[in-house]
Amino acid sequence: MIIATERARRPDQFVGKLKDQEDQSVCPFCEGREAGTPPEIYAIRPRSSTRNGTGWDLRVVPSISPFLRVEGDLERRGNGIYDVMNGLGAHEVVVETNQHIANMADLSEEQITKVLNCYSDRIVDLERDTRLKYVLVFKNYGQGSGSTGIKHARSQLIATPVNPKRVKEELAGARLYYEYHERCVFCDLIQQELAQKERVILDFNGFVAVSPFASRFPFETWILPKQHCCDYTCMDAESRKNLSRVLKAVLLKLKIGLNDPDYNYVIHTAPFRRQKVGYWKTIDHDYHWHIEIMPRLTKMAGFEWGTGFYICPLPPEDTAKFLREVQI
């Protein structure tokens, strides 16, 4: 990462314009339009209500245009020098609320807790399918983030039959650090950030939100649990409540401070750890789950694509200070 100190800009130069309003009468994710989505996989709804009917609080449905599907076999095969397999996996959409609210920042803490619980339930369920190796939980908010135009808060889960490249790299990096230091790199990172303070945005009930030292994008924010665990699903109910508070606070600070920017977040958690020959024994110790939030304020250009280096136009110390000072 390159932090451009000489061409650095001020935090307030990233404040954007407010989003346009849209026609919500066509939203397929609102209560009463359940017929517009494929049948639900999971829902939080009272016993008195019926599946795919109204009265729900949160719903998970398969994606209307899935890239991966649960049916069929992988059929790994070669095509000349290329390797190919079928698109087996799962692609689900978490409809976070029955109200037409766009930004997760505007949901109540209780509602966000339900979303966080749902992630956990879905990951545990998908793990039972032994063909799958990883579940990626992420959110695209706003059109600059790759989302479609529908402004109804939702996140996505994609379960893949292979471990994705960037996940493998992160795990390998954490493992290398552990082999050398016999400590978790993320635990060390949290300790150093709390000692230095200048990049900390929030420190609350077991969670820290920081602007990472090597930020790739301006206002990139990570939320890490102080308690070491490699797996998102290991959190207890109390922790999820605390995470919900921190997540809402960070998203609100971004929304208020930067005028509702587009953003992505991704939950980084360990792959499924099924016992088999060559099982990675130290992963429980060397990896540490966390959430990475990336506001979409700049565009990737040729330099970033070509090198894998990122030019960050703003030092993380400045963005952390800016976000600390945003009143919510």
Partner: protein, 333 residues
């Protein structure tokens, strides 16, 4: 159902939608329409840029005045700086280094509104020749291990100035992405004793379905493992590690295929923004050239990279390279 395809060089998995691939009309992309205005790269404004490093200009015209065809200047807002030694240091668990390197801007032509397809072939030849000259010159500095030439065209591609230009950076280390390609192609070479890119070219010529254009020295095609819709590769058919070692004939052939390929792309997608990157072998002893093969990667800005791609390095291509090649081939000149 989508199909998972693995990049033979870097091992990245990509999901390609072969069931319902998107057609060109399905993409709602950000249109790029130049606005004009005061431009530091136009004739008469040479004083607005740092002094020229190299230039092709009419005889009798002075440095930093009009009368040039291609002009190279230092980047006014460099991400890296050429002076000083590399100073690597630690801060707790973090590693830091100062940004030593060169960052140059190549103004491709005096025309504010002419993209490569609108230039004459000889103008493109001069531009490519200048790219080669600058790369060959920077290669002499032993502090540099990698030279990257790239171009951002249009606002969606991250271009901050309208006047078409190419950038060149020389770096004191081989960055992550080229390093992955180098490791991948080295492993393949150690196993098969052949260059993987030469094998790719052979298979693409045989399969034909993804080839867009071909001339004596070059081939342009939509890669089997495309990360983005309508991604394009241009490769020299003869094995060569360095872009800057092209002969005169090869430069002419590249000018032709680059112009024609981009013209086709911009006929399918009007007012398109795109990036291209020239991938060339590392310099000053960082890699052997028998297993690396230089090439140009063109990335149209039709979609936004979403959270899924960022988080995993796993890309979703909503069209298939076979369909993309079919559309590009069908464009009439």
């Amino acid at each position: 159902m989508g199909e998972l395809r693995r990049d033979p060089v870097v091992g990245r998995w990509v999901i390609v939608d072969i069931e319902n691939p998107k057609k060109p009309a399905d993409f709602g992309y950000e249109q790029y329409i130049p606005q004009g205005g005061l431009c530091p790269f136009c004739y008469g404004n040479e004083f607005m840029t740092p002094p020229e490093i190299n230039c092709f200009r009419d005889p009798g015209t002075g440095a930093n005045t009009p009368g040039w065809q291609v002009r190279v200047v230092a980047n006014k807002f460099p991400a890296l700086q050429i002076e000083g030694d590399l100073d690597r240091r630690g801060l707790g668990i973090y590693d830091m280094s100062n940004g030593v390197g060169a960052h140059e801007v190549l103004i491709e032509s005096p025309y504010h509104n002419k993209d490569i397809p609108e230039l004459l072939e000889q103008e493109i030849q001069a531009y490519l020749k200048m790219c080669c000259l600058r790369a060959a010159d920077l290669k002499k500095d032993s502090r540099f291990k990698y030279i990257m030439i790239f171009r951002n065209y249009g606002s969606a591609a991250g271009a901050s100035l309208e006047h078409p230009h190419t950038q060149l950076v020389a770096l004191p280390m081989v960055p992550k992405n080229p390093l992955e390609e180098i490791h991948g192609s080295r492993d393949y070479y150690n196993y098969r004793e052949r260059c993987i890119f030469c094998d790719i070219i052979r298979q693409e010529i045989q399969d034909k379905t993804r080839v867009i254009l071909e001339n004596k020295y070059f081939i342009s095609f939509c890669p089997f493992v495309s990360r983005f819709p309508f991604e394009i590769m241009i490769m020299p058919k003869q094995h060569s590690g360095y872009f800057c070692q092209m002969s005169e004939d090869e430069i002419s052939a590249l000018a032709q295929i680059l112009k024609d390929t981009l013209a086709k792309l911009k006929k399918v997608f009007e007012n398109l923004s795109y990036n291209y990157i020239i991938h060339s072998a590392p310099i000053n002893g960082e890699a052997d050239v028998e297993y690396y093969h230089w090439h140009i990667e063109i990335m149209p800005k039709l979609t936004q990279v979403a959270g899924f791609e960022w988080g995993t390095g796993f890309y979703l291509d909503s069209t298939s390279p076979e369909l993309a090649a079919q559309y590009l081939k069908a464009v009439k000149d």
